[in-house]
Symmetry: C2
Subunit: 164 residues, 2 copies
Amino acid sequence: MSQEQSGRAPKGTGVEGKEVEDLESLLGYQLKHLQTTLRSRMDATLRPLDLTTPQYNCLEQLRRSPGASNSELARGAFVTRQTMNTLVRGLQERGLITRPAKADSGRILPTRLTPAGERLLDQAVSRVEAISARMVSPLDDETRTKVTEALGLCIAALEESEDG
Amino acid sequence: MSQEQSGRAPKGTGVEGKEVEDLESLLGYQLKHLQTTLRSRMDATLRPLDLTTPQYNCLEQLRRSPGASNSELARGAFVTRQTMNTLVRGLQERGLITRPAKADSGRILPTRLTPAGERLLDQAVSRVEAISARMVSPLDDETRTKVTEALGLCIAALEESEDG
DNA sequence: CTCTTAATGTCAGCATACTGACATAAATGA
DNA sequence: TCATTTATGTCAGTATGCTGACATTAAGAG
């Protein structure tokens, strides 16, 4: 609380430093709040399609990278390959994606959207984009760009130390 | 792919609209990336203390709101009370927090940190603050404030429609 | 060619987080 | 007062997401 962190003094304007508290960790707090709210809204809008947000993300990424491996999908969705594996299986059982039972060359089992998967994804995309648009609606283009860049800097700062 | 979604033209600056694609959803993407990375770093730094990020959040909130109910903690951590319940039980079994078996007045069971919980939390806080500081280290004070405010606007935009 | 290293897919176990449902207690309105 | 609404704690079930571990295959080093 009272251990000076790095010499900067955002509370040096006057008398007490009580309400100010943690301007730093406030970013983490807002981050979590927004992420949770966004996830909640996406889940709600996808529920009529019987899709969850991670499932949507998987399908969406598969459209942009047809034939991607499970590990590739995992990296793109920021989850482990184990997590993505269970996700992929569920989508496969529902006939939304296809995956060969055996690999021709290595171990990689290239995954692809089925026509049913594409159709469902089309519906999902328009729903999700409406939410995404609403989220950023209070920000003008410049702010939006700035914020995105700032978040990118934060990511880099966290990742540069002790591998990625 | 080629079905115009809503008529807006963020790609209307020139010739092709391929790379630009989704400036909107990029914010969501960065959001998820940063959140995941932060969570990963926090988990890693808390592991020696045998604490997870949600557990840390619970303890931390309990220090600021001693005697909080389970539902209060849930709201503060942006999870359901069911989720918080399991979290609280685990911490209780480890003797880090206390909770009466029966309520004196209503149904609320006020929760508090034990001395052991306080000690552990002290260690955790310094570790987590180091990570939080590293995350925001690339941002100057003005940018940090702007970003936090911008995220707040996004939260409000998502929450204002169809209850909160 | 052989050993090592990295990458992939998968099994098991556990923690987190949600929805749905139920009983109980407080607050509110009629 | 009595009924309705709201808030809380909890049970059950399921989905997500992690670590640890293992076998298999690819790629490189020697």
